[in-house]
Symmetry: C2
Subunit: 463 residues, 2 copies
């Protein structure tokens, strides 16, 4: 088994007892991500004091670090003479992320005082949705004219490399119209001779690109499939607007996973770390779906109302209600989790719904027969051993439970697997098909199946 060490508390925590000077002295040897982590335990005003005391280039590194939480609040606690050069020196994708966290008023004020290039880039990037390629891209990419050779590229990187997000993906653009011609890698440039024209280097196939409105999940899929270090984001005219790098995409994948897991748990995505969000905000994110599910589940009370007469005649049937409806919910939850993930990984598309149904029907029957057999044995065994008295018609009761289980588990598997398709079809995120959603759907139908089976099998005896 691979080891999974529990993360030790940040070694820096003890520093927080001292003042900013102590913090800065002790952090000199640390990587920006570690400083950011330690700063996350400081109140925003304390963190702002540290940022003011840090050397400028280290403050920029820190603000460029996505690990730093509450960047907006810290930034708003800084005086303008520190804040403005700081945001101007940040990389553009991080500028935008910070900008999105600022209060509306601060944002408008900043747009006035920032230098023109920063302002223009910010306006462009802010025009794209936060979860799109345009919303997470950076404009600091390395492009060279198609007339250059390998030696010129290396010299250029020597000079301007440190200002670029990555120098490993090199974008060759047409000298006249600046359209993207080719993407080559620094590895290929170095493997070629110094005099080789950039057009003679590397792969001649059409580069993999994306559009600014492509969802970050789909950008992640491209980067992952083609093992890219960065992907260019193109306008309609074939010019590069910016690039999305692999480290941004890892952060994006992590956030998407968190969203998906929370949605599958039956709630809105928190969008904030669990320990940081206020209890009121968390209750709000949870209450919406919980109430919706509750209203849906009220139909069970209505359904039960229709069978009140049967229950009063055969109370023994009521005993198995939770067992039967939960089995349907559980098999539905399994099917939903399988299909949500298969859709996310593009293993299946909406068109495949009937192929999925053809797999879920035999699976549901098989699982239902297994549970039905266990249920049947359980009731007959308890009766035989004298642990419980299910009455003189206990064999028929057991049979009712077993047959109902087959029906309910089959329905659960089918409903659970079809729900994500149905949601996608009507324009919703299939990941909204949460386990509780499926369970609710199956509970109502499960009751109807159970009592219908009961009415058929027990007519003339118990009912």
């Amino acid at each position: 088994m691979p080891t999974r060490p529990e993360q030790p508390p940040p070694e820096l925590l003890y520093l927080l007892a001292g003042d900013e000077e102590d913090f800065i002295a002790a952090s000199a040897d640390l990587l920006p991500a570690d400083i950011a982590e330690a700063m996350n335990d400081l109140p925003p005003e304390g963190a702002a004091r540290v940022v003011q005391a840090l050397p400028f280039h280290r403050a920029v590194q820190l603000f460029d670090e996505p690990e730093l939480e509450r960047r907006g609040e810290i930034f708003e606690s800084l005086p303008d003479e520190r804040a403005i050069p700081l945001i101007e020196a940040m990389s553009s994708d991080q500028q935008v992320e910070l900008f999105r966290e600022l209060r509306e008023a601060d944002r408008a004020r900043m747009l006035h005082v920032l230098d023109a290039p920063t302002r223009e880039v910010l306006k462009l990037l802010m025009s794209y949705p936060p979860h799109s390629a345009g919303g997470i891209m950076t404009t600091e990419f390395l492009s060279v004219p198609s007339t250059w050779n390998a030696a010129q590229v290396v010299r250029h990187i020597h000079e301007v490399g440190s200002a670029k997000e990555t120098v490993y993906a090199i974008y060759i653009v047409d000298e006249k119209d600046r359209r993207l011609v080719r993407v080559i890698s620094l590895r290929e440039v170095i493997a070629a001779g110094p005099e080789t024209s950039v057009l003679a280097i590397g792969d001649t196939r059409k580069p993999i690109t994306t559009t600014p409105l492509t969802h970050r999940e789909d950008v992640a899929r491209l980067i992952s499939k083609y093992n890219l270090l960065a992907i260019p984001v193109m306008d309609d005219g074939g010019h590069i607007l910016g690039i999305v790098t692999v480290d941004d995409i890892i952060d994006a994948i992590m956030s998407e996973t968190t969203e998906d897991v929370q949605k599958f748990g039956g709630m809105e995505a928190l969008d904030q770390p669990y320990m940081e969000i206020s209890i009121a905000a968390m209750v709000k994110k949870r209450a919406g779906w919980l109430c919706a599910l509750f209203l849906g589940e009220m139909l069970t009370a209505t359904a039960m109302g229709y069978f009140e007469h049967e229950i009063s005649k055969a109370v023994v049937l009521a005993l198995f209600i939770p067992l039967i409806i939960s089995s349907g919910g559980n098999s539905g939850s399994q099917a939903t989790s399988l299909i949500i993930r298969a859709l996310a990984l593009r293993e299946v598309t909406v068109r495949d719904w009937w192929r999925v149904a053809l797999r879920e029907i035999p699976s549901g029957v098989a699982l239902g027969v297994i549970l039905g057999a266990i249920g049947l044995c359980r009731i007959l065994l308890w009766q035989q051993l004298g642990w419980y008295d299910y009455g003189i018609h206990h064999v028929l009761v057991a049979l009712t439970v077993a047959v109902a289980l087959v029906g309910v588990v089959l329905f659960g598997s089918l409903a659970g697997s079809m729900l994500p398709f149905a949601l996608r079809k009507i324009g919703f995120d299939p990941a909204s098909a949460s386990a509780p959603f499926v369970a609710t759907l199956v509970d109502v139908t499960g009751l109807v199946i159970y009592f219908t089976v009961g009415l058929i099998i027990l007519r003339g005896t118990l009912l």
Copy 2:
């Protein structure tokens, strides 16, 4: 809203109607990942015929592509004179992955016929668990002696670069004992002057490294936190065994997410794409947990048995059983998904359980009060409007439901949030705390809470 295009069917599909020659001609312009995707629709024997017909270097690229499914089966369909050079030319991390897919007998036979270097590397890498850093690392990293300068490094990359997994992370090792001294990037090498000693380049801080037994999830966390392109895997003596690159880690994160979602849905991880796994294998993966949950849920029948007398006296109480227990399950499912994810992201650790409990208690009470109020109104409204007759004690019945809801939702939130901690504490994966698991846990307790509240409120009237 970012756009989310449905993936078009692979343009290559039409090719599959033709023979191998057509396929190869048409695939000349395609990237390996796309060829792999098209091959996934061929039967293994057909795919093996394509591999035999492809130029050797393209066959190697294809087999180095994690997108290629059923690599083991295709490989086993190849004749030895094609198979052996192919595996020997693959990169070591992909060799191991392929090797793990082979039948035991083929594996043993291969170890005999492969060349000595390949055999040694395979033996080393196969000794680590598949989900550990050692199990996914590659041995083709670029190391240079600490006596070199920048120009020597660039010349070295020019010569051997194409055989390395990445040339962007350069590992400086001590000339005598081969221990890792420093990690520098190719960007830093190029930014430095050609005569600069490698020891004078880049960051002087201790490199971020990992051990071979570290779980791939923790390796992913390091790569993501420090924005690395690769991380060295070290032995106890300070020597590099191999490296894990960022594209391997993206694949690993995707697989871990799939596993987590499927586990949260209440089943074993499939470990295969949904459309590919046989129905029998899928039923097996699902039946285990489904039966375990069913056995747990049987306790509801036992619990209901204890209250059979109460139910027969007040059948009206039975009507709300599904509503009440499902509300507990839903709030529990929310809490579990939040905590599983917070633990995975290290936002909370096992030590924080009481801090989580202190947040879940007020949240659970708030959510319970909301649902309780809705439930109370629903019953009184239906009674007022004459839609259903809950009897003369309907106010007390409504009160019982409302109070029970507060208790059940509170218990659900608390149990759901504590379950992942409890599992971690006793050595299990907290991600085993699935939505159905929590629902089952809460169903039994929910019934006891409901009937206990009923006995208190309705004593002397209905009960």
